[in-house]
Every structure is written in structure tokens, then in C-alpha cells.
């Protein structure tokens, strides 16, 4: 089992989710995040004082997947999140040793 974590642009979430669903992924966990990287933030002005906000809103997906699917899924995410502009985000993969579905106590592949 692997954990695929993807940090993407918020407005790509629907595309990515749809693409994953089409591929057969049935679940994922999503958190709001802020990204810091090459992509510039923005400037806000309050009573003549400028604030450079260098964090950019991002969405972070976690998907636990079967070993055999991991490459495809990374591919699906990377493609569907792609806009070609700076700040499109990253995908990384980490090994998972156990997965449990809380409702049933199932583990491993059945837990996904």
C-alpha cells in the first residue's frame, strides 16, 4: 500500500476528483493548505501599508492506494491537476504498512 499526497491548485480539485473517480479511486481525504514556492503570493494594502502575502492557497489530497495502482494514480493526478503555470503543485508517494477501515475493521486492500 502507498500513500499518494498531492498538493494542487484549489480550482483543479473538481477535475482531479473526477479523473480519480473515473480511474476507480473511491475515496480520498482533502485538507486546505497554503503553499510556499516559486509561485508568488500577492500584495494587500491597508491604509497605505503594503502586506506581501507570500502564501498561496492550495488543496492537499491524500489517497491510500494499492501498490499496483500507484504509478497510474500519480499520473492521473498529475495530468488532471496540470495547467502548465507555476504553482501547479507536487505529488509524492510514501510507503504504507497498514490500512484499516474503521467501520468494519477490514485491513489492507479491502480497507480502501
Amino acid at each position: 500500500m502507498k500513500l499518494v499526497t498531492a498538493v494542487i491548485k484549489p480550482h483543479r480539485l473538481d477535475e482531479v476528483r473526477a479523473a480519480l473517480e473515473a480511474f476507480g479511486v473511491s475515496g480520498m481525504t482533502i485538507t486546505e493548505a497554503s503553499g510556499y514556492g516559486r509561485q508568488k503570493g500577492h500584495t494587500e494594502v491597508y491604509r497605505g501599508a503594503e502586506y506581501e502575502v507570500d502564501l498561496v492557497p492550495k488543496v492537499r489530497l491524500e489517497i491510500v492506494v494499492d501498490d499496483s495502482d500507484v504509478d497510474d494514480i500519480v499520473d492521473v493526478v498529475a495530468k488532471s491537476a496540470h495547467t502548465g503555470k507555476i504553482g501547479d503543485g507536487k505529488v509524492w508517494v510514501v510507503p504504507v504498512e497498514t490500512v484499516v477501515r474503521v467501520r468494519t475493521g477490514e485491513t489492507g486492500q479491502e480497507a480502501l
Binding site: P10, R12, L13, D14, A18, A19, I30, P57, V59
Partner: protein, 456 residues
Amino acid sequence: MPELSAGDTAWVLASAALVLLMTPGLALFYGGMVRAKGVLNMLMMNFAAIGIVSILWVLYGYSLAFSTDIGGGLLGGLGDFGLRGLLGEESLSSTIPSTVFVGFQGMFAIITVALISGAIADRAKFSAWVLFAAVWATLVYFPVAHWVFFFDDGNGGWIGDRLGAIDFAGGTAVHINAGAAGLALALVLGRRVGWRKEPMRPHNLPLVLLGAGLLWFGWFGFNAGSAVAANGLAGVAFVNTQVATAAALLAWILVERIRDGKPTTLGAASGAVAGLVAITPACSSVTPIGAIIVGVVAGVLCALAVGLKTKFGYDDSLDVVGVHLVGGLAGSLIIGFIASAAAPAGVDGLFYGGGFSQLGKQLVASLAVLVYSFVVTFLIGKIIDKVIGFRISEDDEASGIDLAEHAETAYDFSTIGGGSRPHTITRAPSADSEKLDASANSSSAPADEKEGSVAR
């Protein structure tokens, strides 16, 4: 024969608008105190109360409360049904046009009903509430308003005009009345799931303070407007309202400072409302120094009284009992003690040598309204509960009444904008589906399918 006074009319028109504003103010005051998943339902209960009661008022409510008494000072007749006879320029209530008086008094009916909603936050079926509001206004508020507010040279309501109890702007008719009803309804509905186990702290305190500010502002219409004239009586009512409220605010946060270590904003807002409640019946009959005493007493008593529900185990969620029943009682009874003939009402209370007479009247008036309101409300509540059910399901309560009853959530500050897919409905209202079924809807509206569905 009194003539029209444009000045008096101007003030009562402004006052009527001010009292209307109190109900949205109350909605925000209450709405900020519930959890984020119940704020919309709280707002809806209040706005629906405005809707229902306004219409009943114009149809028959005003008439039941303010038409010629049908006997014993218990109820008015139906002579002014629909207000048709009051529309001419010559139709006056004292020095103001009848319709202005109708408008002003109608706002009192609205807010009294709205006040009750705070006792049953987060768990009442919206349809049951709407039904309750209509029945309660009819069976409880309209008669009680007649008792207290209808004056007709000794042939008016039994409490105000015949008994001679002093309730200048509604300590009994509005606050004791709503407070007792809130208690009854809290008992009928029972406690919220998780009460005293889960934290149920206010989700938006600036909203609470905004609501308190609007209430305070509007209350000048409520109290000083009850002079139904722009004169010295209105001035005294105005100043007394301000200073009693200020005193209660300070008294409440002082209690907190001593008891809990910290003065809180919720305490300041609650104290202000407690002061406004308590000075309501008394603002014409005490001096400004007396008003300070009213405020201090109300602030301290109510700050302690909000703990009663934990002791006795009823979930009066937003303290309608602790603030309105207790505050209303405090204000109504204290008149018997500290009323001063120096004030416009011209009555001396016990401490000014007036004896026990006024105190007795105040006691009778307060208890009569308390008992009547409690008993009738309990019965109305129980019957509604039996017939259509008053409470939403536990699951709906857990996931939030806003979603369950209104299919909405209050806030979306999120950057995850893409978490939902719109399915716009353009069906005619004849196709009435009782259930929300998005897939059925979109398939029944194929023309929309392409545009409305997500472009995957």
C-alpha cells in the same frame, strides 16, 4: 377631542420602525450564540415570527388586543378586523393616526413571539415553530396585550386599566410572558443532544454584540415610544432606559469578575439586555437614580439566574428564562418598592412611603401573566408535539439543524470552492417534490443537464 399631533406621530412612526429592528437584532443576538451549524435556523425562527405575526396582527390581532372590551377586561372584540375602518385621516388613537398605533403595537407582538425561540435553539422542527408562533400569538399574546396595554377609562384591560398595575412598556405582557413561554417550551422539547457534555459555546460573539447594539437602539422606540407622544414622559423613559441598561451591563460583568475571574463580552451583552428588560415596565415610574438601582438589581439577579437551568436541568438554551422571565419579574416587582412620585407615573412605592398597595398590584399582574403563559404554552407545545412532532431527529440535530431544516450552511470562507456541484432547477412549482433528490431533479430537466453539470 384630541387632535392629530404631527410631532407625536413622527416619534411613534420612528419608534415603530425602531421596534421592528429589534427582531432582526434579536435574531443576530441569538444567532451568534448558537453553534455555527444552527445559526440559520435561529435567524429563520425570528424572521418567520415577523412574517406570521404581522399578518395575524392586521387580520385580527390588533382587534383582539385593542378593540372595545367584550367583558371583564379579558379580550377585545373583532370590530377592527382587517383594519378597514382605521384608514381615514380622521381616525386617531389619542393624538396620532390609528394606523400608526397599529403599526407600533404590532411590533411588540412580533418580538414577544420571537423572544421565545431562544429557549429551543437547534432542535425545533421549523414547521412546528411556525404553527406554534401563530397559535401562541392568538391564544396568549393578543389576550395578554389586551389585559395590560388596553386603556379605556376603566373599561379597558383588567391588569393595566382596571387593576392599576404599572407596566409601562411590557415587563409583564412581553418579557414575563415570553420568559414563561420559553420555560414551558424548553420543557416540552427537552434538552439538546449532548447538552452539558459537548461544548456549546457561541460561534460568533461579534454577531452577539451587534445584535445587542441593535436591541439597545431599538429599545428606545420600545420604551420611550410607549409614551405614544413626544413629550417629557418620553424623555424620562429614554433617560431611564439608558442608565438602567448601563448599570445592568456593569453589574453583570462585575458578577463575572468576582465569580469567574473575567468579565466577558457575552456577559456585557447579556447584562445590557437584562437591564433593558427590567426597566421596560418601570421606566415611567422611577427616577434616574431609581433606574440605576433597577439596572444593578437586574444585572446581578439575571447573572445568577442563568445558572438555574444547570441546577434544575432544563435546557433553556439561550437563557430566555434567566434574562426575560427573571428580568421581567425584577422590573415589575421593583416598581412596588422604588416607584417615586417625582417620576411621571406619580406613584410612590413602598420605600417612598407608598405602602404595599402598588407592590400587591405588581405581584398579581406578574403572577397572572406568568401562570397563564406557562400553562397555555405548555398545552400548545404538547399538542403540537403530539400531532406533528416538535423536534427534529437526533441525527439531524447532530449534523446540524441548518442543513436538516433549511438545506443551507451559514458560512463558506473556504478556498475549496470546488467541493460541490450545482444542479439548477427551473421546474414549474407544480412539480412539487417533497424530497430533495438532486439526481432525479437534474434528470427531469434534461435541457439543463449540459450547462448545469460539472464539466468532467
